[in-house]
Amino acid sequence: MKRMRVKFLAVSGSVLSVLLLLGGALLIKIAGISDIPQAGFPGALLGGRYFLIILGVVLGVASTCLGSTAVEGGLQKKRYFPYLLIAPAMVFLLIFVVYPILNVLFLSFFRGSVQNPTKEFVGLKNYIALSEKSQFIVSVKNTFFYAAIFVTLVIVCSLLMALWLFDDRKINKFSQTAVFTPHLIATVSCAFIWRWIMDFNDYGVLNTVLSLFGISPVPWLESSKTAMWAIIVMNVWKNIGYYTLILIAAMKNIPAEIFEAAVLDNASRTKRFFKIILPMISPQLFVTLILLTIGSFNVFDSVNAMTAGGPGSSTEVIARFIYLFAFGNVNSLGLGCSAAVFLMSIQLVLTAAYFKLLARRVHY
């Protein structure tokens, strides 16, 4: 009972300290911006802009010490030791993941440039401007289109490939190796190779080969009807091997007895697939799905190298929009940041949705 109370105290102390730290950080940032009226800030009243930070750190350390006393033995004698071990990793994560997320959110409320990120506080104006920018809307549409098709294709194709290349035969091993190789190659390299292959000119090798079969040349990357598909094909080509191997590995882990039982029951092939294989590999499939989905929303390299968003804006994607607006010619950091926040939210929402909808169906 006493332990529970200690624990509760420690947890609420930690939460409070995190809030204090956040508030302190915000205070420091705002105090650095001349546009915002300075007078009357609690920080200024309490003596210095670092006050909240210091308070937060002290409280955090104290609650952690308190909390530590409530944790049962384990291996350690010295209670501070595990904190020492994770400290470097946590410092790096704080600086390069947590702070950037918060800062992007912060900057998305400002008009600014890379030189001067906080020129003017504009509130939600960036988000409103974003929703009116046709370039952004097109980018979002394209990204969703890309993600949907890409994820579906990769999952379906790699499942089929995995089933097909499952048996232990030389030709299968060889095929697996060949199919996997593109995964190791840089996306830009692959993009350039494919751009060269899909060249619409008479010297484009894909059109040359197709013409042998009597198919007239297609301007793969020069038409909005095919450009996105070309990018998808390239990325599927690059990724399929990896996921095929993962699924094969998962299938290899299915106990042989289950299969034997199924064969004895005279279960049909499709039935075996849906009743045994699919449920047994569902954990891997689930992780694959999440990783693929998150990854597909970040698509940048292949688009930038193959079409640079063209023709028209038929292959513009969110990541490129962020790049162009935050870092590129347009140089309006706030808009880029708000687009980045948007991108991040989509990914978080989708991941949460996956967990909500699918996690129950996954058999562990």
Binding site: V114, E222, S224, P311, S314, E316, N329
Partner: protein
């Protein structure tokens, strides 16, 4: 054994630290923040010039200029110049702005003369060259006035013309000769003549013409029809409202539909046009005079060489041409006074008649100064190869759109809409104008 491994790991770590840290000696911000003593020029100063002059004649030119400077003026005044190729014009601007933010400013940046200069000066990071000119009593009258349009900002001179050009029409003279057509070297074809010429040049596997997706050329067409891309304040696009844009789009769209004008490609459209022209697959292209050296070289190297002709840009009305290419600007922010002085020294060196003339002769960029135009090597060149003078002569008809703070974003939107219309034919010129009208509402204020 384990200890030894741990030791080895440590050594490796230290090594990699020093290796990584040792890199930036040239651009370390410490250089620029050291207190400068302008009274002691014996102190060695190293400055960097960031530029977009890549391979070929262009890259060699700037390399030789730098070498020459370091041997002569630089050696005397204790200045060492390093030239850094940064990619295209856009990359130079991006790299410069990011470097300024990072405190590793270069001393000189060669940026696209309109949007590039505007962007940099908008950030208030450029040095006032006017003050330096006044201090040294340098002759500004000597600079071609047509090239100074974007060099001023709020009354201050913040840039100098360096690799400036005008676009001209390159044509396959072997083909036009075969048709028996004579194209004047010192004047512009009317658009009607141009259309019929290109039509007759088109045959199996050869397009008469192709135009890249670049506002430079479209803006010039607008101008010829009495309109412009931006108004004086840079806050709207007049051509959008007075029907001129529609007229130009309709014409261009018609050229594509008639089959004698090849649509541009999505990426690297300029390089593509040059390649196809050099292969004899497109008969006429518009391109900068600055590309002259490279195009002549490529025609010799690739496929069957042919004779190249050069003339003014064709026109809807009176002849006109935009100017283009790069200005050089001195970055003030993050650089000491000694750095800025050194940069100005190098700038003056590049604008000496000898260097300026060499730049023109070797690459085709127009002379920035009047003195260079009358230099002996230039006069001799023009006498032997009259077409080399076309770009310079065209300067008499130079015009430039007012600059706009919204130019970068507007340009992106414009390019994307034009791409849908020309490259794909998925929208009509009317729809294109309509789409741009919507974009304009979002991009321009008010």
């Amino acid at each position: 054994m384990k200890k030894r491994i741990a030791l080895a790991l440590c050594v490796l770590l230290v090594l990699s630290c020093t290796a990584c840290g040792g890199k930036p000696s040239s651009s370390a911000p410490a250089d620029s923040s050291t207190p400068s003593e302008s009274s002691a020029p014996a102190e060695n100063v190293t400055i960097e010039i960031w530029h977009p002059r890549g391979a070929g004649a262009n890259g060699e030119m700037i390399a030789s200029s730098v070498e020459e400077f370091n041997k002569t003026v630089g050696a005397e005044k204790g200045i060492t110049v390093k030239e850094v190729f940064q990619g295209g014009y856009a990359e130079v601007v991006t790299a410069t702005m990011n470097a300024v933010a990072a405190g590793t400013s270069p001393e000189i940046a060669v940026v696209e003369n309109s949007t590039g200069t505007t962007t940099l000066s908008g950030e208030g990071i450029l040095a006032d060259i006017g003050a330096l000119i006044e201090r040294d009593g340098w002759d500004l009258e000597n600079v071609q006035s047509g090239l100074l349009t974007y060099c001023y900002r709020d009354g201050k001179l913040i840039a100098m013309p360096y690799i400036r050009s005008t676009p001209v029409m390159y044509y396959n003279k072997t083909m036009t000769d075969a048709l028996g057509v004579d194209i004047p070297i010192d004047g512009a074809l009317s658009i009607e003549d141009f259309e019929s010429l290109c039509k007759s040049l088109t045959k199996d596997g050869v397009y008469g013409f192709s135009l890249q997706n670049n506002t430079w050329y479209t803006q010039n067409f607008f101008y010829q029809l009495g309109s412009n891309m931006y108004d004086e304040a840079g806050t709207s696009c007049p051509a959008l409202e007075d029907g001129v844009m529609l007229k130009v789009f309709t014409a261009w769209d018609g050229w594509i539909k008639d089959g004698w004008c090849q649509p541009f490609v999505s990426t690297n459209d300029e390089a593509y046009l040059e390649e196809q022209f050099s292969l004899g697959k497109i008969a006429c292209i518009f391109d900068s005079t600055g590309k002259m050296g490279n195009i002549f070289g490529a025609v010799k190297d690739l496929g069957d060489p042919f004779e190249i002709g050069i003339t003014f840009l064709p026109t809807f009305g009176e002849p006109s041409c935009p100017t283009g290419g790069g200005n050089m600007a001195i970055i003030e922010k993050g650089n000491s006074e000694a750095d800025i002085d050194a940069a100005w020294e190098f700038m003056k060196f590049l604008l000496t008649p000898e260097q300026d003339a060499l730049n023109h002769v070797n690459t085709g960029y127009v002379p920035s100064t009047k003195a260079a135009a009358s230099a002996e090597i230039v006069q001799e060149l023009w006498a032997n190869e009259p077409y080399r003078q076309v770009g310079f002569n065209q300067l008499a008809y130079a015009q430039d759109a007012p600059s706009s703070d919204y130019g970068a974003e507007w340009g992106t939107a414009f390019g994307s809409v034009v791409s849908s219309m020309i490259q794909e034919g998925s929208i009509s010129p009317e729809e294109a104008v309509e789409q741009l009208r919507t974009e304009a509402k979002n991009i321009f204020p008010g």
